[in-house]
């Protein structure tokens, strides 16, 4: 697999949202708008790349029986670092994403990639894998966020194109589930055609 393929497989073949069906909680909760989805995706990407690299580096020295707690501590550390950095330098987005920033620790994608890829590959390859899956995740979140924002608030990336409100159900719980369900069907149809 070429280095480039390592990155792009996270977009379609290993898309965490529509194929692996991982990381559902932040996907549904933070996609009330395109910007929110994008930010959450990038935050997860940050943790994914760093933790993949760290896990790949220490994997040979970690005894098998304790590898889960060890990986969890590493992931939790990078999530806390992200928390502090966001609190200090992007406070508005920190408040918007709220609880879901520390919850990146239990985002199945991060631990999943550490288990499935990072502990068996080189540091560089693991970083690229984290980048690819992270970008795929960011893409899915942004698209879902764009659709919910367009239907629910009548705006694109904050730019309103209608006066008044859209179909408010889409920025709330029911709309999230509905949009994700239909997007999954659409994605699978497109992916199968390729």
């Amino acid at each position: 697999m070429t280095k480039f393929q390592l990155i792009t497989k996270g977009f379609i073949k290993d898309n965490p949202t529509f194929v692996l069906i991982l990381g559902m909680c932040p996907t549904l909760a933070t996609t009330t708008s395109a910007i929110n989805g994008l930010s959450m995706g990038l935050a997860t990407l940050f943790v994914l790349v760093l933790s993949n690299m760290a896990v790949s580096a220490v994997a040979p020295y970690v005894p098998d029986k304790v590898h889960i707690p060890a990986y969890i501590v590493i992931i939790a550390t990078f999530v806390t670092v992200l928390q502090f950095l966001m609190q200090a330098y992007t406070p508005a987005m920190y408040n918007t994403l709220g609880l879901f920033i520390p919850l990146i620790v239990v985002n199945c994608i991060v631990l999943g990639r550490a288990e499935a890829f990072a502990n068996k590959n080189t540091v560089i390859d693991s970083a690229l894998d984290g980048l690819g899956v992270g970008l795929g995740f960011t893409l899915s979140l942004t698209i879902l966020g764009m659709i919910r924002e367009m239907l629910g608030s009548g705006s694109i990336f904050g730019w309103k194109f209608i006066t008044g409100d859209g179909i408010l159900a889409f920025v709330m719980a029911p709309g999230a589930f509905l949009c994700l369900g239909y997007l999954m069907v659409l994605f699978n149809k497109i992916a199968k055609k390729n």
Binding site: V62, P63, F84, G152, V171, M172
Partner: protein, 187 residues
């Protein structure tokens, strides 16, 4: 890649070193970001206060009053040494959850302005309490001693947000409570 052997010594060594390194890294990042984080918190508080009181030139002074088992933190703001306003934080329960307001009073007992600090109201309905200018502006200069702080449905002088009576009631109650706190402060 083969992992190290799972002997007790190896497991303990590995976990302890991982925890130590991670804690050290976190301690460093924590101290580096502590300053900016505190500055942002202070800026947010000042922004909320500045929204609801007339212009001031010194840092707002924090105080606290209590009644009915509730605490009301408030900020006294001064200009040229004279008190020009009080920003009182008042919380009630709205339709979807807690509703927290910052209510600003001028020394003559009138409401200067109000701002929502936090709410869980329904988008498009109660959430209009942050954007509906007609609703918010009616509280500017409102004199609670001569007009009734209740929605018109309850016999008061406040026009509720269309189809959001509960949110409007909660909002008005928060201001009413803030006024009680204000009276305590001025005593």
């Amino acid at each position: 890649m083969m992992a190290a052997k799972s002997t007790l010594k190896n497991m303990v060594l590995c976990l302890v070193s991982v925890c130590l390194v991670c804690s050290a890294l976190l301690a460093v990042v924590y101290h580096v970001t502590k300053g900016p984080i505190e500055k942002t918190n202070e800026a947010n508080k000042s922004k909320a206060v500045a929204l609801v009181v007339p212009g001031f030139d010194a840092a707002p002074v924090l105080g606290n009053v209590q009644f009915d088992g509730k605490a009301y933190p408030y900020y006294t703001v001064t200009k040229g040494g004279r008190v020009v306003g009080y920003a009182i934080q008042s919380a009630t329960i709205g339709f979807g959850g807690p509703l927290t307001l910052m209510v600003g009073f001028t020394p003559d007992g009138k409401v200067y302005n109000t701002a929502v600090l936090q709410h869980s109201e329904t988008p498009g309905l109660g959430a209009k309490c942050t954007s509906d200018r007609k609703f918010i502006d009616q509280f500017k200069g409102f004199d609670p001693s001569s007009k009734q702080l209740a929605v018109s449905k309850d016999g008061g002088d406040v026009d509720a947000i269309t189809a959001s009576t509960i949110t409007s009631r909660a909002y008005t109650l928060a201001i009413r409570n803030a006024f009680e706190a204000y009276k305590l402060i001025r005593r």
